[in-house]
Assembly symmetry: C2
Homo-oligomer: 516 residues x 2
């Protein structure tokens, strides 16, 4: 990389590595590797099985081309991967055999090139393959967190990410967000006011974010907000983990017009993407988790770290003893596909995905608008709400707010805040003095929806975990008389989305007492 | 399985699960899964990407048949896996999409059937896929060990397995072995005499074994010894982790005759295999780690747990947050291969592997015998040695022992104990009062061998880790005037093995002062 010479060197962040990770022994194989490549060397040292005894001789994959013009029949792409070196093509044997923990070197070079094109990181970063962001995050927690630490997350965060660290006694220190994403002011305030004595723990040093099309909120952090957050992280010496599986699924605001898809130039496409935290990282404090799960397919179990080398060196050590490198066929297919498509082809493929997911978002938002009265929050009965408010009319023709949502511009999810004010069954529960009437009513509502054959994901799955004493609506300090549900628009068809929203409308009608 | 009704129920072993693993939250998705399958359900709850947006349409693998008769041309097996259901064949889409953490159900059924055929476990066990034994072991340590515990291992053990737990402050409590494997008497003695006060920790509760063709020692634990060890484990409430990647690579004692390969009946083959710990496990205290790395190929990153359901339930929880299920193409290829070969075909394929690795073992042992004077230990100058002793003649025609080894009947390795008694350079180092003359001389010897273009693996890689204060030969209580090296016969050719041993002989000649 010619550009590497112009990059910033990372600052020393080695104090972030936790005690266990520091205590990992270096790999003893270094001594052997030092001699391995010598001409004429006979190695009786290897522990590898003999490759002639692997039963697979050839792998052939039929794949879509990056873009198919409507009306023109385009043949499928054939990826043919055989044993033995064959004119610069991939040798299947390499992918059947044990690899180094770091992953296939050609693939590592490729993801570096891809990242340079997409993010042009200003600081020197290293690259390391991993078997998916779930695993990547578990390795990062193992690298940086001590037991009983606090981790900074959004108020609503990805449940599997925190299910990993809850057993370690780790708790969330959540920061509120608005339509621009996590509040930098809120973040600074939390860190400034951190009191080790009353909290019983050191100030958090790790910020976990799904910054584009967040799961569950669908929110994408704005460029300006990113710069503010990065600044706070520099000020308070925070490591930012950018878990960004939806980065390539950004799409424009919805319109009611039917769109057709035609790709734009790669440069125009790249310019349309929001700048990542990695692209702002002049100090080496961003650990970016990249995944091919949402852009190629999840069964690949393949992604990569982009991080400060002080972190990737330790991550490689843990990779050697916890997972080894990602599955060989996944690496081979990905490399062969990139060799065929080229990076430009991949970026064109991503545009097609954006169009598809954008269209699906449009279907859901259109269904909301067709079946509810949707108003901008400011003009709605809940002016302090964010985004839009979906209402029904009560028997007197008055607007009753049902839920508010922010229209997502990336990802797969719409996060809806349901308002229970005046809902008879909710009032009954509250007046019955049960402990958490919001969650009790949300559970009843969810169950009724499911009985009426429409499934949403309960918002409670995504509550940042602050400990056993902070799970109820009141204890979390959450808004009373409300609860959240997550809509996914990724999988259902247009008809299913419309019918699903119709069923929701009908259940809402029963509970909200409006005329339907 | 009809036989399940006749199986023992596991005893309650839940007290072995460590505090962190007990604290894992149950998956909240159970509520959703309860409703998922209802007729007419519209799910807006899923988080899965849309399968029409995965670029792969078809995967075709060309594989070896299980057995090829010499002189008969046998066509390669074609495994063709397409999108969409196609007359009972595999649907590629299932393997491209996210799977449940437990792995594809057809594959889980298959490995259950395979295990019933091979091991007929007498107790009810559950099955769970994992991405290779390295990962499986890391999950077992996460399940059972508390920080600073002791783990029981062989005196020489697999370095990656312990590199995982060293950072947790865990130490090895090693037990000596002989040609039959770990000493059950030694194990009982260690456990009986365990003194919590002087050791500073509770008695170990976890026994880690590579019971067939152990890496590095090549030893296979005898059936009788296994029964004795299992009995001790019942007595002292120990969980046995049977990490058994070489189970299928068992072969008969070496002969000098050229062999040709012809498979025997599946039943005869299965009878020839040593009974596993799993096959003796009437209580559910064996956790068996199975891998396809050595029988199909390592790049698959695919294996499975066989264990008590109290353990597999917690292992599934950690799988959900740490790795998710193994890579889809690996699962698809394995299933398709088994559909084509059948379990009998797979067992025939294993016989071919046994023959191949057995032949390679023969090459190494023959090279020892051709280039050294090899005697049974009892008739050698080191009668207390185990197995055979390879000697050279000194200038007066006297036998000088160089190394002893036990001829392995499984796996890929020969473990050689080199004797330094009377070796001038060793005596120089020892008289120079350096701290660990054995390891210092072993390092010099290794480096000289490497300079002469032959690599062995230093035995020091495999020393059970007993803490920073117990790394030298004397502190470990190891035999003075000796050190170990591991020979691998899996990868090099016959010619390389012969030439490699010749180079070793030549270096030995310089140091041992014998006539060559």
């Amino acid at each position: 990389m010619g550009s590497i010479n112009h990059k910033f060197l990372p600052i020393d962040l080695s104090h972030h590595i936790n005690a266990k990770s520091k205590a990992r022994h270096p790999s003893p194989l270094k001594d052997i590797i030092r001699f391995m490549g010598r001409d004429g060397m006979i190695s009786l040292a290897g522990g590898l099985p003999h490759p002639s005894l692997f039963p697979v001789e050839r792998a052939n994959f039929e794949c879509q081309p990056p873009y198919t013009e409507p009306s023109i029949e385009t043949p499928l792409v054939q990826l043919d991967i055989k044993r033995g070196l064959d004119g610069g093509r991939l040798d299947l044997t390499e992918f059947l055999q044990y690899g180094s923990g770091a992953g296939n070197q050609k693939l590592v070079s490729l993801v570096r090139e891809l990242t340079e094109r997409m993010h042009a990181p200003p600081c020197e970063h290293e690259y390391l393959l991993h078997p998916g962001n779930t695993n990547a995050w578990s390795k990062v927690v193992g690298l940086l967190c001590e037991d009983n630490d606090y981790v900074i997350v959004d108020e609503f965060t990805y449940p599997s990410a925190q299910a990993l660290w809850i057993p370690l006694g780790i708790r969330a220190s959540p920061v509120l967000a608005d339509e621009q994403g996590m509040s930098a002011t809120g973040l600074r305030k939390m860190l400034t006011n951190w009191d080790e004595t009353s909290m019983g723990q050191r100030r958090p040093r790790l910020l976990y974010l799904v910054p584009v099309g967040s799961n569950p909120t669908g929110v994408t952090i704005s460029a300006q907000r990113r710069r503010e957050i990065y600044e706070v992280c520099v000020e308070f010496d925070i490591i930012i983990v950018e878990d960004d599986p939806y980065y390539c699924l950004q799409f424009p605001k919805s319109t009611r017009k039917e769109q057709t898809f035609a790709p734009v130039s790669t440069n125009k496409f790249l310019e349309s993407l929001i700048p990542s935290f990695l692209s702002m990282d002049t100090q080496g404090r961003v650990i970016r988790l990249e995944s091919f799960s949402k852009t190629l397919f999840p069964g690949l179990r393949l992604g990569f770290f982009v991080a400060n080398s002080v972190f990737t060196e330790r991550l490689l050590r843990v990779t050697e003893v916890e997972t080894q490198d990602p599955a060989g066929l996944s690496q081979a297919l990905t490399l062969a596909l990139f060799q065929n498509w080229g990076i430009d082809g991949y970026l064109t493929w991503l545009q097609g995905l954006q169009f598809q997911y954008g269209t699906r978002r449009d279907w859901l938002v259109a269904a909301f608008k067709d079946l509810f009265r949707v108003l901008p929050a400011a003009k709605s009965p809940v002016p302090q709400a964010q985004g839009n408010v979906a209402c029904i009319l009560d028997s007197e023709g008055k607007l009753l707010p049902v839920f508010s949502y922010i229209e997502p511009e990336a990802g797969m999810f719409v996060w809806a805040k349901f308002y229970f004010h005046g809902v008879r069954r909710f009032i009954e529960l509250r007046d019955g003095k049960i402990e958490d009437p919001e969650q009790a009513f949300a559970a009843e509502l969810w169950e009724t929806l499911a009985e009426q054959l429409v499934l949403l994901t309960p918002g409670s799955y995504y509550h940042a975990w602050q400990g056993h004493d902070k799970t109820s609506t009141a204890a979390r300090g959450a808004d009373p008389e409300s609860a959240f549900f997550r809509f996914s628009f990724a999988s259902p068809s247009k008809e299913q989305i419309e019918e699903g929203v119709r069923r929701i409308k009908s259940v809402v009608g029963q509970f909200w007492d409006g005329s339907t």
